[in-house]
Amino acid sequence: MATMVQAIRMALHVGEERLGVTDILGEDVGPPLGGVFTATQGLRTAWNTPLDERGIIGAAMGLALAGQRPIAEIQFCDYVYNTIDLLKLAGGMCWSSNGDFNCPMVMMTPVGSGIHGSLYHSHSFDATATHLPGWKIVMPATPRDAYGLMLSAIVDPNPVMFLAPKALMRVKSLPGEEIPGEPGDDKQLAKMIDAPLGDRSAWRPSWPDTPDLFIPFGEAKIVRAGETVTVVTYGRMVMECAKAADELRAEGITAEVIDLRSLHPVDWATIKKSVQKTNRVLYVNEETEVTNFGEHLIRRTVDELFYELHAPPRLLAGAFVPYVGLAPSLESASVPQRAGIVQAIRELAKHRP
């Protein structure tokens, strides 16, 4: 089964072979390294840039305006914050020119905590990102979704942010969630598409024949069906919420866990339907909790579903402190943990209006 990082790599390969991708650019994305997470190994159009995030985003915008199909990587989302003005320009290009130009580029970047990343490899970006009009924003939680969302990102005529939960990069597909065409045997896949250690100058990947699989934006996925509480999440927290739901089943609490997969556009219909059934909703994400996208979803919830709620809608998110600290005691105190999610679902389930 492919890992998420392999899935991204295969999608990028399909992108450059069949969907017109012209440039995969970023720091260390080209040979010899092929990306700090190996996401861009063996790709024909991947090239290394100077260490300059503004240059990377700017060049991608220019490429997009010139009819190319660039994919710009920011090595860690922690380093994207000097480019917000450019991201705003990209998101506003079509609007500001009244449709004269559009800006079809993909910005991909690893996000979130969970790899002992300390202050500058643990940031989430979804709060800042969702506040940028004109961008579509996706965040896969499985290899297959990563594959299919990346293909959709590539062909979209708009700027698309592909936020990859870094803690899930090495997580494998579950049975039934394979990428069509991937070899059944992990070792075989690794042999085909993972660059060898040491000298790679003569190495060439041999790509499995994976077909197009466009996962549309704005279609959430129900990861666990349930009746008691709705849990809406994305990225790394999907697995945590699913496991929390599994734990609670023994107590007779069934949580319906929704993986949004895309934040803009968001699949409000699926959330709404679920909340209308459960009457209780918990939003979970890793971002610091003040002015957080989960708070936007709470607003929509009270706007449209106020009288159907049997408990106040809740957000479980990152502590509002400047960074995630390195010591595990600090990281687990900053970022939602399984036990906290279980507890929050249980409280919602037990809540009596």
């Binding site: 840039t49 300059d52 240059g55 991608a60 490429l63 010139a66 009244n98 004109g134 579509k136 708009n158």
Partner: protein, 343 residues
């Protein structure tokens, strides 16, 4: 480089440009000036909220527009301009009335649909990418179009232009770095129109570099600093620089000293500044002296163009504002329009 035939052909200091080219340049310079003055009148009369533009830069921007290989797609030049580029746009063939439309924020404004300030052009048919207000960001984007052109081959180049104060932003350095990557040098003409001011702040108080163009040298980028108030110098030096970029597929950094004839913008009053060189007046005197145009002809031209602009203004005044609901248009594109050009 210096021995290439093109450089010889344009290098002779005495070689005057052909009279019809001079006349054409003058006509566009005058049209640009009168357009800007009409826009200033409009703002004074309450027919707009803000004016910014290029009076004082015509002698450089008009030659630039004339020399551009205009059109859509990679084989034509891409232009990443800023808010003083009316001369370039008119030389490309833009209609003066469309600038009045943008000033008046009417629905028919072809550059932004009544959304943006005047002088903020976007013209895909000529590869003029949307001009935006934030200073210097165009220097971070320009390498992108140039990379595409380097790959495509041919003679299409990317031209990026900004002011002197803006070179303090990191984006200017980004452009130098990205334009000169070994083996990936870009066909990119970087232009700084140096009017010695950023709003109220003089160049000399903030910049220790006597010539901005010298910043290219550490990168092996060819450079020049020229008198941008002289359209003949501008034309020849731009031609040289462009030819180098087109054929060598390498960057060039050109600094042109220009004037800022009506101050920074309407915020600073937009009054005529007496002590700056007026490149248009100087050029007109020269044309008269060389008997290429007569004073009478010049007066006629001015009268005719002024009347045309007045008529255009009267037309625009009747045009409708954008619909409120149009704010929802073009938040997202439904298809990719950028690759529609003939490549």
């Amino acid at each position: 480089m210096n021995t290439s035939p093109i450089h010889h052909a344009t290098n002779g200091v005495d070689a005057h440009l052909a009279p019809d080219l001079l006349v054409r340049m003058h006509e566009l310079m005058l049209q640009t000036r009168l357009l800007e003055e009409r826009l200033i009148t409009m703002i004074r009369q309450g027919d707009g909220y803000f004016w910014i533009g290029g009076p004082g830069e015509e002698a450089f921007n008009v030659p630039l527009g004339l020399l551009v290989n205009k059109g859509e797609g990679l084989s034509h030049d891409y232009l990443h301009l800023h808010y003083r580029s009316s001369g370039t746009l008119l030389a490309l063939g833009a209609e003066p009335i469309d600038s009045l439309r943008q000033m008046k924020s009417v629905k028919t404004d072809p550059y932004s649909g009544g959304r943006n300030f005047v002088g903020h052009y976007s013209a895909r048919k000529w590869n003029v990418v949307p001009i935006s207000s934030p200073i210097e960001v165009q220097f971070s984007m320009a390498p992108g179009t140039a990379i595409a052109q380097k790959r495509a081959g041919g003679r299409g180049i990317t031209i990026v232009q900004g002011g002197d104060a803006g070179t303090a932003e990191g984006d200017f350095a980004t452009c130098l770095i990205w334009a000169s990557r070994p083996g990936n040098e870009l066909p990119l003409l970087m232009i700084v129109t140096n009017n010695s001011y950023g709003i109220s702040t003089t160049y000399g108080t903030q910049h220790g570099e006597p010539r901005i163009s010298d910043r290219g040298k550490a990168f092996g980028i060819k450079t020049a600093t020229i008198d941008g108030n002289d359209p003949e110098v501008s034309y020849r030096e731009l031609q040289k620089a462009m030819e180098y970029v087109r054929t060598e597929r390498r960057p060039f950094l050109l600094e042109a000293h220009v004037s800022r004839l009506y101050g920074h913008s309407s915020s600073s009053g937009a009054n005529f500044v007496e002590d700056e060189v007026d490149g248009l007046a100087r050029f007109e005197a020269r044309l008269v002296e060389r008997r290429i145009l007569s004073r009478a002809t010049l007066d006629d031209m001015r009268t005719r163009m002024t009347a045309e602009l007045l008529a255009a203004y009267q037309k625009v005044r009747e045009e409708a504002p954008p619909d409120p609901s149009s704010i929802w248009d073009h938040v997202f594109a439904t298809k990719n329009v950028n690759d529609g050009g003939a490549r």
